[in-house]
Every structure is written in C-alpha cells, then in structure tokens.
Amino acid sequence: MSFDLPRTRESVQGDAIEPGRAYGFFTDTTLCIGCKACEVACKEWNQLPAEQEAMSGMSYDNTRELSATTWRHVAFVEQMDGAAGNADPRWLMMSDVCKHCDPAPCLEACPTGAIFRTEFDSVVVQQDVCNGCGYCVPACPFGVVDVDEVDGKAHKCTLCYDRLKGGREPACAQVCPTDSIQFGPLDELIDRAHERTRALHDRGETDAYLYGVPDSPGATGGIEKLNAFFLLCDRPEIYNLPAAPTLPSRRIAPAFGASLAAFAGLAIAAAALLGGGRR
C-alpha cells in the first residue's frame, strides 16, 4: 500500500495490521468508566456532526442510541436498589458499537452491493454506491445502521477502515483509557476474552459472560459470531441488546414459499372458476 500514514500499531506494539486477517473489538464492560472518550474520538476522526438537543434523563446517557452520525454510544445502567438480584448497588456501563456480524444481516439485505466485507473482516457501507433504499435499517437486529436524512445514504461504524489501511487501530480503541475497548486479531481477542471471563468468575464476579463469541448469546439464529463482541454482567436486554438475534434472510424461504404456495392454491381455484363451466 502506498499510504504514508505512520503505522503506529506496528511501531508501538510491534503488531502490524495485516489485510486478510479478521479483526474486531472486544468491549469489556467491567472496565468501562463511562468517560465517553470513545464517542468523542469517533466523532472527531470520522468528522461526524453532533446531534444532541437535550438532556435525556437517562443517567449520564445523553447520546441515547447509535445513529447514522453516532457510531459509539456509552450506555449507563444504574442498579441502585438491588432490583436485579444483586446485593450491592452497581453501575453498568457499556460502549456500544456496530457488531460487524458474521454473516452480517445488513450486508445480506443490501441490494446494491454498497455494504461489503473488507479485507479485515469488518462490514463497511460504500458511500459512493449506497442509494438510500433503507433496507439495511430494519434488517439490522441490533438497531445500528441508519439512513441519514441529510445526505440520503446509510451510515455506521467502519471499524475505522481508513485507519486500518494505514496500520493504525480504530480511534475509539486507541483513546480508551481503561482498555475497556480492545482492538486486535479476532482469534487473539476471543482467547483473551475467555481468559478474562474465567478470571472474573474466580474473583467472584460470576455474572460475567461473553456476548457475541461463537456459541454464546448474541451469536444465534444463523449469526455465527459478532466481530465486535462484549463482556456483560447482566441480561443482554439491560444493555439494549437482543438475547438471541436471528439472521433475517432465514425467513425468505418460509415467507416466499408459503406465499407462492398460497398463490398457486388460489390460482388452481381460479382456473376452475374462470373456465365458466366450459369443459
């Protein structure tokens, strides 16, 4: 590649970012302190406009949700009354992001080929191809991708595709002060995440589990894994995540098949009736 960007990850960590290898995020919510540096770094690097109009009243979360112009979102869950069955009050924080699913429902739904899988196994919307049909929006089981009303194109996290090409890790991961957001090769990340879960269990945090690694909640219904996966400490719904998302394309055959069968049945009846008694 002819990029002359400093390959910081290689020079600092001795760990080059290579095309052809699967990369992703491991977001360890037990380390998140809710500083929102990831949100700011993402907006800055990707030059995304601010969109906040008012206080939400939802703890410290005034961002509310991921959108076409917000690609990192820190959720704040206050469990102060032990309602979730915990003796001690606790404060859950999670930096949410596009899951870069494998296979990806948005990519499967995209009729123009604008959404594609990159050489880093991330899922990116090509802005010069998208025609704003909006089908990826209801396809996404996590409510991530959205069409921007201003430019009429679909937008979401690109896993900092431009930075990866230049050998730098995504802006949110680089800025995260507690390493709650970890970027790296997926196989290494998954091993590290399992290790971390075991360590937490040993320390008595037995609620900890992984969301989105193969054979876990989040990686269900035909979605084999989420390239951006999470370590959570309560039900996925608490963090606004579905427990068992499904691949929408699985429903094409039953819906289209049943519809064609019903149509054929009615057509047979119609053929009998439309003959008008002629033999």
């Binding site: 009303e149 589990y209 719904e237 039953p254 009736l273």
Partner: protein
C-alpha cells in the same frame, strides 16, 4: 465455558434500556405500501387473466386486455413509487449492480423488472398496430405468459421483503404473512378485473372474477387471523394493542378488505339485476381499498413497534423467532 455462560443467564423479566428503541425502523412511507399493493394487484390480475385465457380464450378476451393494461399501469406506477422512495433516487440503477439471493429487495427488483418488461410487451400487443401480424400476436401471448408468471412472483415476494427483517411485527410469522400477502393480492387482482368486466357490461365473466375474489378474501382473512395468533404467541402484539390509531387502522382494513367484499358479492347474488350489479361493484371497490389499507397498516404497525422495545426482545429470546411454529 460458553455453555455454562448461557446457563448462568437469568430469565428476562421484560426489562428494557429506559424504554429506548432497540431496533431502527424503516424510513419507508406510503410509497412502499402503495408499491406493494399496486404491483401486487397488477401481478395477480395478469396471472389470473393468463390462466383464464388458457381456459376460455374467447369469453375472457376483454379481461385479458384489461389485465395487460393494468399490468402496464401497475408496473409503471410501482417503479415510479419505488424510485421516489429511495433517499438517493438518482442512483436507482445501482440496484442492478448485483443479484443477491439473500436480499428480497435485490431479487425482487429482477422479478419486478421481468414483470415490467413482459407487461410492456403484452400491452403493446393489444395495440392497433399489431392487427393481424401473427408473429407479434404470438409474441404478445408469450409476453403475457412471462408477465403472468412473474406477476405471481411480484405479488408474493413482498411477503419475504417484510419478513426478512428484524422488525418483530414483520418477522414473527413469515409463513402466515406469506399466505396473507398471496390472499390479498389475488383478491385485489380479481376485484380489479371484476370491476373492469362490470364497467364493460360483461356481467357473466365479471361474476367469475367475483367468485375468485371472494375465495381469495376468505384466504386473506384466514391468514390474517393466523398472523395475529402467531404475533400474540411471540409476545409482539403490543404495538397494535397499545395504539388507538393502529387498532383502528387494523380493524377498518379487516372490515373493508374482509367483510365488505363478501357482503357485496353475497348481496349481488341474492338481489340480481341492477342493484346486484351495484352491490358487486361496491364489493370489488371495497376489496381494492381494503387491500391498500391493509398493506399500509402493516407498514405503519411495523414502524409503531419502535415504541415497544420489549416486542423485539420478546421475539429475540432463545427458541423463538427462529421458526413459525407451524
């Protein structure tokens, strides 16, 4: 390890994240529900007329002509609505860059394209220029066959278009929804042709199409009941139950698309004569209007589901949402 993780997960007690939406909802508006209704009607009409012409070419000559014109009008209007609904409409041709079997939006474009092309040809073959030129008339018949087949596809693929999403209201009952879409499309196509025949003074053939419309209406009502039952089972009926306009839209579309045509056709058979003729035409108009309302109600209900994030979470519980349960 991971198996154990799943076991330690406590049961979901209906919690949400401050009631925030967990899914994004489509930006589609009346143009998409209008497309589904208009293209479905045109496709079904062309399929019915093709079938009818095979059984009774002489008696249904006028109906075939009507269906060819409806197919042309429907595919033109449908294409216009689809393009107008894009947020970057000048790039509509990007739909033709790829063919993707996992995307009903993609393969549906090709089904609809085939229908539009064949319909254009079949309508052209009805023109005066064709006259006695056998080759052109033969080509017109071939185009009608292609148009009839692809018309059936246009009337039905839209069930997959809405089912193959993560919207709980659309995704919970793919099979029953498929039956519902086929039923309402055939009812609307037959009603449109029945109206065409009535307006042309061909009451005998109109009655045949009215019978088809009545049967399809029954199928539509049956499938709609199955959809509602399945939604309840999955716990995703809230957007309808909680919103008054939604409830009204749904009730009125079921009455107009279901009860009104059946009553109209029954009255027509009982009364006969001029009054019977009017009752039948009113029934056909109700089938068309009710079908449009039903398509629009489905779109709006899907958008309204955003107010109830628990609907999406309920469908996305393990062992649910994967299957229709039939």
């Amino acid at each position: 390890m991971t198996r154990q993780d799943r076991h330690t997960l406590r049961d979901w007690r209906g919690e949400t994240y401050y009631g925030q939406q967990a899914l994004k909802y489509p930006h589609w508006d009346w143009k998409v529900s209008g497309y589904i209704a208009v293209a479905g009607t045109a496709g079904a009409a062309q399929a019915l007329a093709t079938l009818g012409s095979l059984r009774d070419p002489e008696g249904l000559r006028a109906a075939r002509r009507g269906a060819r014109l409806m197919a042309l009008a429907g595919s033109t209007a449908g294409a216009a609505m689809l393009i107008a609904d894009l947020k970057t409409p000048q790039r509509f041709h990007n739909m033709l860059r790829i063919l993707r079997p996992t995307s009903p939006m993609s393969f549906g474009t090709y089904i609809f394209g085939a229908f539009g092309g064949a319909s254009l040809f079949s309508a052209f073959a009805e023109g005066p220029a064709v006259g006695r030129r056998h080759l052109l008339r033969w080509l017109g018949k071939a185009a009608q066959l292609v148009s009839g087949f692809s018309g059936a596809g246009v009337a039905t693929y839209t069930a997959a278009l809405v089912s193959a999403t993560s919207n709980p209201y659309w995704a919970a009952a793919p099979r029953s929804l498929g039956g519902q879409f086929a039923g309402v499309a055939v009812a609307m196509g037959a009603a449109a042709l029945a109206l065409w025949e009535r307006l042309g003074g061909r009451d005998a053939t109109a009655r045949r199409f009215e019978k088809v419309a009545a049967i399809a209406t029954l199928a539509h009502v049956g499938a709609s009941t199955a959809v509602n039952k399945r939604l309840k089972e999955c716990g995703v009926s809230q957007p309808i139950e909680h919103s008054k306009p939604q409830r009204r839209l749904k009730a009125s579309s079921l009455i107009i698309a279901g009860a009104a045509p059946l009553v109209g056709y029954a009255l027509s058979a009982a009364l006969g004569g001029r009054a019977g003729r009017n009752a039948a035409m009113a029934g056909s108009c109700a089938a068309l209007a009710g079908g449009m309302l039903m398509r629009h109600g489905l779109l709006e209900a899907g958008k309204a589901a955003r107010e109830q994030p628990e609907s999406g979470f309920a469908l996305a519980q393990p062992m649910k949402g994967d299957d229709d349960g039939h």
